[in-house]
Subunit: 331 residues, 2 copies
Amino acid sequence: MNQFEEKELKQEMEQVELYLTEYLRDPGYGGAVSRVLRDMEQSRGKRLRPRLLLMASRYGKDFEAARSKLCRLGALVELVHMASLIHDDIVDDAPLRRGLPTAQAKYGKDMAVYAGDLLLSRIVQSLFRDGFARVGQMVGEAVEAMCVGELGQMECRWNEGATVEQYMRNIYGKTAALCRLACMAGAVESGCSEEMQLQLEQLGINFGYMFQIRDDLLDFVSDAYEEGKLTQADFREGIMTLPVLYAMEDRQTKPEIICLLHAAEEGDFGFEHAARLKTLVTTSGGLARAAADMQMYADRALQAIGNLPDHGVSDVFRDLLRAKCKISAAG
Amino acid sequence: MNQFEEKELKQEMEQVELYLTEYLRDPGYGGAVSRVLRDMEQSRGKRLRPRLLLMASRYGKDFEAARSKLCRLGALVELVHMASLIHDDIVDDAPLRRGLPTAQAKYGKDMAVYAGDLLLSRIVQSLFRDGFARVGQMVGEAVEAMCVGELGQMECRWNEGATVEQYMRNIYGKTAALCRLACMAGAVESGCSEEMQLQLEQLGINFGYMFQIRDDLLDFVSDAYEEGKLTQADFREGIMTLPVLYAMEDRQTKPEIICLLHAAEEGDFGFEHAARLKTLVTTSGGLARAAADMQMYADRALQAIGNLPDHGVSDVFRDLLRAKCKISAAG
């Protein structure tokens, strides 16, 4: 762990919080708008995407001069994430997010639609007002990818024929596109060379894949895994994640998983079903294959770091990747 | 009617359609995304907002040189409108829009959330890619106003204490903000002077108010009024429009309207209720007062036209305003 870099990052993350507060300010609307904005301001995430952005920006020659702009961009990338969570929660019918009631649970789906749109409108205003021309288009592209990923995932719901290829396309949009944006935005605004931008882009994409596969593994590996979610929530919603898809490539396992899927679709999926699915996913090797994929994407991200000039932040990236991959070892 | 201007506008509107087709292109996603985009491309609206934009741009000195950019902007403003309709239909539970099934009726609310977001992401990409820096921020501001208007309207739902002042604030966001954007965008990109921009801004805002009040009047005035909507749909959804709000200012009428509102809230609102509400809104003078307001906003829009330099398009604007106000005369 590089203590100097960690300390610097901590200071910048405090600046990111201040910008977030500014972006979520109520200019005097009052009423429901005011409550929605305050709730968003109080929801506390891990702020992973701004961290990625600021870490990536360390490699740029203009990093010092652009520091304030980079913190602002970090807040904007987090806002994109927040807006997507609000709209995702509508679709997932999620009651909780980060331990707090979701916008849709508290104010209804209808309110949540516009709350997410309101965040998007603030992002657009800031991108233009603060002159983020090049990054602005990337933000638009990332949001398109996120929509396509979510729409693709919906299409795969309850679909016995869903494939690993579709899963990878969907998680690109769900997670990797925004991690890519974070790293690219940091690279571009800090004046990284084209070659460095390419490496940081790869770092972001592969980090995103790793991170989403990890999330999907945790749903099976840890019984105590909660974070406001019930275990196997995806499967109960008809979404087949990587461990399940690999398990279904086993001809003997597939029929039983399809039976479990039908049970879930009929709302008849209890603890026995969850335990059986876990066993099937484990014994068929689905879990191990998914874990191996996660490690592969982590290795690709590490390779991108290795291709970048040596810098104190490289170790912070390596620590982050190692920390994220650790849990899977338990599986 | 100015035939030369009408002919020119017609040609430009054809260009707007081509750009819309381009914006709604599927780059090869396939599946649900592809179907959603194709449906959007096939939905045909009146294209009022691009018309406003192109008409406003006639006053600018750079109009000829900027024609192609203006048509592109016209398509973008229509896309903002389409995205907002998709999200509004989710909230309204609307089965039809322009005679066709809504995105949410056809594919479900969940799909509609991302379909609207996808359009917004395309708008952002084009605003940056095509260099609409100044207009870009205005688009963000308009979208924020639209969200605030819709959130404000939701807060007034089933609220016996809703006021005319709240209604005006809400319809600013629902309708006037985007008409303002259309006129301002046309003015700015065609190189109108600051003074002209101010007049065109007023024209847009007042046109928007007029247009929304007209829409709300039509719901009571014409029994045959359909356009895919059932009569008094707003009231049945708990939304009190201007004629109802004015009727409720009459102390004798108010209690009975509240009874009807309760009936609507309990889902017990049939033809007799609708007929009674129409009578109450008419005899209390609510309809006449709302019609007078509509005329007042139309007059303000006409005044803005009068303050602009004389131009062939001024008569097209006047014709449009007269045509839109005509139906109210029947009430």
